[in-house]
């Protein structure tokens, strides 16, 4: 395996109505990678956002260059799993970073993911809100309780060997992500959980890095009963089938 300078990191950014946040995320990503000296590309998978996200993505492509910003939009909202698959087809990096495009995940953690990956030669590095100095901003007590309670239930039932299963800020080896995408069938939160569970089944190694999750949208989108029910259904399905 060649030296670290041969590594390239493809960041997959599925977007829906992120016109406000997308330029900020891209700016932070570009700055982070420039400072760390890593080779990178950002793949923006917009699902036909009505707010002009694609238009602003095109401006970003002009500013940063089409070798760094790859636009791979889709006609309509088709879901996260297929967005990853679609994005990966065009990824030329040997590592894939998945993260949220709404600034809840800060790109500054990516160099720490990279460092952790090298340290343990991990197949996956997962950002965790529940260990070390990881944490959350913008959640009230009820939201935190639901989060901790759900995580506890997941730990008891699945014994996954990772502290934050529903997190979506991760670094994967490209081949590992491709293998996992083939096997995973769930949606939403459960999809992220299933990836980790299947990864363990397949013998992949997982490292963890504490991250801070800054929730600025919680006020608008409450965690509803529907989401809790589908989480529980998904958890029980994983419990019974893996």
């Amino acid at each position: 395996m060649a030296a670290g300078s041969a590594d390239k990191f493809s960041v997959l950014l599925p977007t829906y109505n992120e016109r406000e946040n997308l330029p900020l995320v891209v700016w932070l990503l570009a700055r982070t990678f420039q400072e760390s000296g890593n080779n990178y590309e950002i793949i923006i998978i917009d699902d036909g956002s009505p707010d002009g996200t694609q238009e602003i993505a095109e401006q970003l492509e002009k500013i940063y260059g089409s070798d760094k910003i790859l636009l791979r939009p889709r006609a309509r909202k088709l879901g996260l799993g297929t967005a990853y698959i679609h994005g990966m087809k065009h990824a030329t990096g040997n590592f894939i970073v998945i993260m949220d495009a709404d600034l809840s995940h800060h790109p500054k953690f990516i160099p720490e993911f990279i460092r952790k990956q090298k340290e343990g030669n991990f197949d996956i590095v997962s950002g965790t809100r529940y260990k070390g100095n990881g944490g959350v901003y913008g959640w009230d007590l009820k939201r935190k309780l639901i989060s901790r309670g759900a995580n506890f239930l997941t730990q008891v039932l699945l014994r996954p060997g990772a502290s934050d299963l529903t997190g979506s800020f991760r670094l994967y080896r490209k081949e590992v992500l491709q293998k996992l995408m083939d096997k995973c069938v769930s949606k939403g939160y459960v999809f992220q959980m299933e990836m980790i569970v299947r990864a363990r089944q397949l013998g992949f190694t997982i490292g963890e890095v504490p991250i801070s999750f800054v929730d600025r949208v919680y006020g608008e989108s409450k965690l509803g009963g529907n989401e809790i029910v589908s989480f529980l259904k998904g958890l029980l399905t994983l419990f019974a089938t893996t």
Binding site: P23, L24, W27, L28, I56, Q59, L60, K62, I63, L103, H106, Y130, N133, G134, G135, V136, Y137, G138, L141, K144, L145, S147, R148, G149, N151, F152, V156, L157, L158, R159, S212, F213, V214, L238, F239, A240, T241, T242
Partner: protein
């Protein structure tokens, strides 16, 4: 040998399967000891402690769960500095992007 057998069970079974196996094992052991015929019974004090054991274990687990979730809730980090830092970064980003020609 027993350990590797355990590992291979874990690899082959679903989590649900492992739980059912474990519960079946413990359950049958408990039933055998607690409901044994008079000739094979343990001394009285042991039997008295054994009978309610499943309930005790359930309650203990319940208390452990509450304590653990409560502790984790109380120690859930509040990332104030991260939020403040993000605000600064957002301002810097907007300024720089405007300078580079981005029309918001």
């Amino acid at each position: 040998v027993r350990f590797s057998l355990l590992l291979s069970f874990q690899a082959a079974m679903t989590k649900l399967g492992q739980w059912l196996c474990g519960l079946a094992l413990l359950g049958s052991a408990w039933a055998a000891l607690a409901l044994a015929p008079p000739g094979l019974q343990l001394p009285a004090p042991f039997r008295q402690a054994l009978l309610p054991l499943p309930i005790y274990l359930l309650v203990t687990f319940g208390c452990y769960s509450l304590a653990t979730v409560g502790y984790r809730l109380a120690t859930f980090n509040d990332c104030q500095e991260a939020a403040a830092e993000l605000q600064e970064h957002i301002s810097a980003a907007r300024t720089d992007l405007r300078r580079r020609g981005l029309r918001f």
